[in-house]
Structures are given as C-alpha cells and as structure tokens.
C-alpha cells in the first residue's frame, strides 16, 4: 500500500488510516502533536501555532489553535474509527528562539503557553503522552512515521534521533 506523506504546515491537520508519514518542518514556538490509535492503525498530526482562538476571529483554520485544533483532530480521527481512550500522543516544539542578551523576551513566551495548552487538552481527553521534546531554545523538525510508529526529532545541532515509538508504546509506561 502506498504511504502518503503529509507536510503538516502551520495550522494544518492531517489524519490517515494505515501507512502514513507526517512531517512538521522547522517548529519554533509552534507545537507538532502526533496521535496514534494502535488498535485501528489510525494516525494524525497537527501543527499548533497558538494556544487559544481569540474571541474576535472567525474564518480561521481550526488547526491553528490548540483549543480548537486538538478537538478537531480528535473528531477527524474518531470519524475514521479511532477511539480517543486508546490514543497515544507524542509532541515537540514550544521553543523560544529570540533572546535579548542573556535574558529571554517575556513577550515571546508563546512556546510555554502552547506547551501548557497542549498538555492540558491531552490530559482532559485522557490521552496518554508517550514522549515529548519541548521548550528550550532550539527549533525542531518532527517526523512521525505512522507506518513504523517511530517519532523522530532533529535540530540544527543534533542529528536525527528517535523520540519514541507510538506503535510499541505500552499503556502505563508514561514518560515524565
């Protein structure tokens, strides 16, 4: 079976059943979130830009915001037959890249807010987080190979490394 590759750009949501590969290239303060249901082999990924949809905005891509995007990702995945209670998660990003001498800009703490929002939404949906690679000062490229379950991260200073394997992750073995 052909393996579709999804380029998950800012605010994008992609889901698939069976073989698939997802990539979030150059995550800064944004977050790439990969979800996988091992029982049905349904996978999905979202590239969250900000934590909350501002009240005065409409016609916005749902995937841009954690509070609208993650429920939409869950809706699309359960629409294909996945069950939320079985989902396993891995996410990365939420860095802050700009600094003012030694002190980091307070206005650019978007990354921290994004991390908190994603974590809270996963917890409230009772989705198990297998692994995460967040915060810090490095931009990341995150690749989720749903076919094998492997999630990898690479940065400018580090070679590609495995973050986790969502296919082999066992419930109850939670990353910190």
């Amino acid at each position: 079976m052909l393996e579709p590759t999804f380029n998950v750009g800012m605010g994008d949501i992609h889901v698939a059943k069976g073989p698939a590969k997802y990539q979030c290239i150059g995550l800064g303060s944004c977050i790439g979130l990969a979800l996988y249901d091992p029982t049905t082999d349904i996978s999905g990924m979202i590239h969250v830009v900000l934590s909350e949809l501002p009240s005065h905005r409409d016609n916005e891509p749902l995937g841009k915001y954690a509070d609208t995007g993650i429920p939409e990702l869950l809706r699309q995945m359960t629409g294909l037959g996945a069950r939320t209670s079985r989902l396993l998660a891995a996410y990365g990003g939420g860095a802050h890249l700009f600094s003012l001498g030694s002190q980091t800009s307070t206005t650019l703490r978007v990354g921290d807010r994004n991390i908190a929002a994603v974590q809270k939404l996963l917890e409230s949906s009772r989705i198990l987080t297998v692994a995460k690679d967040v915060a810090g000062g490095a931009g990341r490229t995150m690749i989720f190979h749903a076919t094998t379950g492997v999630v990898t991260i690479r940065t400018l200073n580090e070679a590609t490394r495995d973050l986790c394997n969502l296919k082999e992750a066992i419930r109850g073995r939670v990353a910190a």
């Binding site: 750009g9 800012m10 605010g11 290239i25 150059g26 995550l27 800064g28 303060s29 944004c30 830009v49 900000l50 501002p54 905005r57 016609n59 916005e60 891509p61 841009k64 860095a95 802050h96 890249l97 700009f98 600094s99 003012l100 800009s105 206005t107 650019l108 978007v110 990354g111 000062g137 490095a138 931009g139 990341r140 490229t141 940065t155 400018l156």
Partner: protein, 216 residues
C-alpha cells in the same frame, strides 16, 4: 510580480489595490534607504541596497520565503509600539550573515557556535540601525508616533525563526510586509529578508497616514 502580491491576512479574497501596494513599496524604499545611510555613516563605508521584491503575505506563508526551511538563519526581531503596534524583523541566511560580518568586522564566525559577544552585538546593532531608521522614515512618512524597543537575536532554522516571528505577530492580528533585500558594498553582496508586521488594524492606520483609504 503583481500576482505575487497576493492575499491579505485572514480574508483571502481581499487584495490590496495597486496604489496601496506601490505606497508600501515606496515606504519600504525610503525606510531602507535611510537605514543604509545610517549604516554607511556608522561604518564609514558606502553601502547600497536593492529591493527586488515586495510581498504582502498571510502569516502562514512566511516560511516559504526561503527554499529550505531547515537552513540556518540569523534573525533580528524588534517589536515597536506607539500609534501602531507591530514587529520589524530581519532574516539573513547564514552565508549572508557571514558576509555582513565580514563587511563590518573584517572577519566572520565560522559556525553559529563561534558567534561571540562582538559578533552578536554587531548583528544586533545592524538590526537596530536598519529597524530604527525604517521606523523613523515610516513615522515621517505617515506622521504617526512610532517607538522602537531593543532588538532580539535568534540563530536557528529559518522555518522555526519565521514561524516564531509570525506566531508572535499573529497575537496582535497581523499580515506581513516582506521585502527581499540585497545589501552590497564594493566587494560583497548579501541577501536578506526584511519584514514589517503591523497589527492588522495598524495597516489601516498606516494607509490613513498615507492618505489612502484602504478597507484593510
């Protein structure tokens, strides 16, 4: 080129008029012209600048400015406030940043890890000069009160830098005016991307300042 001056912000169907677009181009030319003059005065070297392309982009397309989103880039980001709020940013691909350092310091760091305090402050100073002069010109041009804040430096994958800049700007509801620039002296030429990201309501204020009624 006109076709590249695509869509605005969240309302994809809406396009800026040619008049508004050329006003922006003119404003950018004047702003960056002032900036280069200051840079020449500081370094006592003649610099020139060309702006081959001006784009008005929705936030999510900014990372497409450069072909490789994982390429190393140096970014200087400077928020501004006053009658209009927003951000100014300069992105230099690594090789261009090295050229710029050579122009200013006579030598350049080999790798990002070699960027020391002098190189850091030189780059921040360039960013500061370019951004402040641009802002001053903008202020003269539109009669608006605009204030700069200290610049910040980032060295990272261009995609990550651009998306972080846009993420920050998005919070104040924005579109981005992106200018492809090349800075050159007698011997070297360097490419960069200059971005002016006013808040969305700010763009309307800018146009009013320019005497153009634009339904932005």
């Amino acid at each position: 080129m006109v076709s590249l001056w695509g869509f605005m912000g969240t309302n994809r169907g809406e396009q800026l008029s040619l008049l508004a677009m050329s006003a922006l181009h003119e404003m950018a030319n004047i702003g960056l012209g002032h900036a280069l003059k200051s840079l020449s005065e500081l370094t006592d070297k003649p610099f020139n600048m060309a702006i081959p392309q001006v784009d008005l982009l929705p936030a999510e397309h900014v990372h497409q400015l450069t072909p490789d989103p994982e390429a190393m880039c140096v970014g200087v980001l400077m928020p501004f406030c006053g009658d209009v709020e927003g951000h100014l940013a300069f992105l230099f691909p690594w090789a261009s940043a090295q050229t710029l350092w050579r122009m200013l310091l006579g030598s350049s760091p080999e790798t990002p890890a070699d960027v020391d305090e002098i190189a850091t402050s030189a780059m921040l100073e360039i960013g500061n000069i370019i951004n402040s002069s641009f802002l001053a010109a903008l202020s003269d041009f539109t009669q608006l009160h605009l204030e700069s804040t200290p610049p910040m430096l980032g060295m990272e994958m261009v995609g990550a830098l651009a998306s972080s800049i846009m993420t920050e700007a998005e919070m104040s509801d924005s579109v981005v005016l992106a200018l492809e620039t090349s800075i050159f002296d007698a011997a070297n030429e360097t490419q960069g991307y200059f971005m002016c990201i006013p808040s969305r309501s700010g763009l309307t204020v800018f146009f009013k300042g320019l005497g153009i009624e634009e339904a932005a």
